[in-house]
């Protein structure tokens, strides 16, 4: 039964991701992407990584995509369904990225070890946490520092706009929306 479930989930992931890329409407694209994350999360669960599976939903589907949605709902996107197809010059960054991904996948496929057992034993929270904060502790700290930089940067950009009261029309609109709500 497990292979059948896996193939269904894999198909859902791939198809939903394709739709997320092809969809012109940003909100619809987000819904497709969340579907894809959900299916992917169940695949992680079946591979014996329940912690990764749950974090996939909490962080990606539940936090990052919600913030995307929040921003998109605040912006007036006009009529995205009337947008034209991307022209020749818009293609090459996507092509470069696609080529890099494909090359990486091929390299992995060619150089994989002989005994890559599919579903090992499930890794519990304790083992996961010990590996994350013990073996990879420094990497975790470096990444969290990077997030802090991003936070400070965002704060700086937001502050500068507030002081001058100009620029960033879109952000300004969102803020005025919130400000109006303060005194209903």
């Amino acid at each position: 039964m497990e292979p059948a479930i896996f193939y269904i989930l894999a198909a859902v992931t791939v198809i939903a991701t394709l739709f997320a890329i092809a969809e012109k409407h940003a909100v619809h694209a987000i819904v497709y992407l969340v579907t894809s994350f959900f299916a992917l999360s169940v695949i992680f669960f079946m591979l014996g990584a329940p912690v990764v599976a749950v974090f996939e939903v909490i962080i990606y589907a539940g936090a990052i995509m919600v913030l995307f949605l929040f921003v998109i709902m605040m912006l007036d996107l006009g009529h995205p369904e009337r947008a034209r197809l991307p022209g020749g010059r818009d293609w090459w960054p996507a092509l470069v990225l696609g080529a890099v991904t494909l090359a990486a996948a091929l390299t992995l496929f060619v150089s994989r070890g002989p005994a890559a057992s599919a579903a090992g034993k499930a890794i519990g929270v304790k083992e996961f946490a010990l590996a994350l904060f013990g073996k990879y502790g420094v990497a975790v700290e470096v990444i969290s520092l990077q997030l802090l930089f991003a936070l400070v940067g965002a704060l700086y950009l937001g502050k500068r706009r507030n002081d001058r009261g100009e620029g960033g029309r879109r952000l300004g609109e969102g803020q005025s929306l919130l400000r109006e709500e303060r005194h209903p």
């Binding site: 909100v27 329940p50 749950v54 589907a61 919600v66 913030l67």
Partner: protein, 332 residues
Amino acid sequence: MTDLTLDITIHLAKIALIFFVVLTLAAYLVFAERRLLAWIQDRKGPNRVGPFGLLQPLADLIKLLTKEDFRPPQADKWLFYLAPAMAAIPAILTFAVIPFGAPVRLLGREVPLQVADLNVGLLFFMALSSIAVYGVALGGWASNSKYALLGSIRGLAQLISYELSMGLSLVPTVMLAGSLRLSEIVAAQKGVWFIVYQPLAFAIFLVSIAAECKRIPFDIPEAEGELVAGFHTEYSGMRFGLFFVGEYINIIVLGGLATTFFLGGWHGPLLPSFVWFVAKTLAFAFFFIWMRGTLPRLRYDQLMHLGWKVLTPLALVNILATGWWLMIRELR
């Protein structure tokens, strides 16, 4: 019957039981809320249908089902249809990890009264509660109406903010129980309930779940005084009913979780474990109704202030204090 089919049958029976009990309870919670609010406000409430008005939920259901299922012409068709389900499903799915009674012996085997005892049970609940945001957000956005959009933007901001303090307030219980598995968290409270060790975490959790189920005083996504009905302004008939029932399912589920995390789950003297669990859960539901009859609505900025500047820092300090306390206890 082989072992596997027996297993599947027992699981399906548990799922059917949960669906039946939770949906019935949700319907009667609506009725109980109307009666209790009426008493608080010195009215009688709905008392015409059946004895004491007990058949009122049925009458409401028939009314909702026979209403026109209207969709605004400019609305986004699929998302408008899907959003109510997105609001109700995560709520009832959460019940899968809640242990609602002591294990029972059935057909010569130990059957835990819990659908799935995941080792990441608490995180599973956090994941589903973060998904529940989509129903509110997409419902309001897809309606293509100003009131609905404002309601859903407020809802999004509120749910994201209070999810944070809710998650952080649960960390001390995990530290005390030493597990994210809900059955082990309940087992760790066999002697002393966690509310005794963690009154602050309990208070933060209680305020956060009130905000998570968008109840007064945190009902600014719906705020009927300002936004007509907020994110579900444009909904009618059973689709509105699904939003509504989803909210009440959410109350039951979050009450059940508060019971599991802080009030010792199904532990209790004399009465059967199942009864204890339901009684504690309904006590939370009663508390929410009481709160609705008592408190005025917060303003948007007050809500954000409370969430980000009071509850979240308090929860963080509480985690630190719990860590120190556990370390000192270990040293002795």
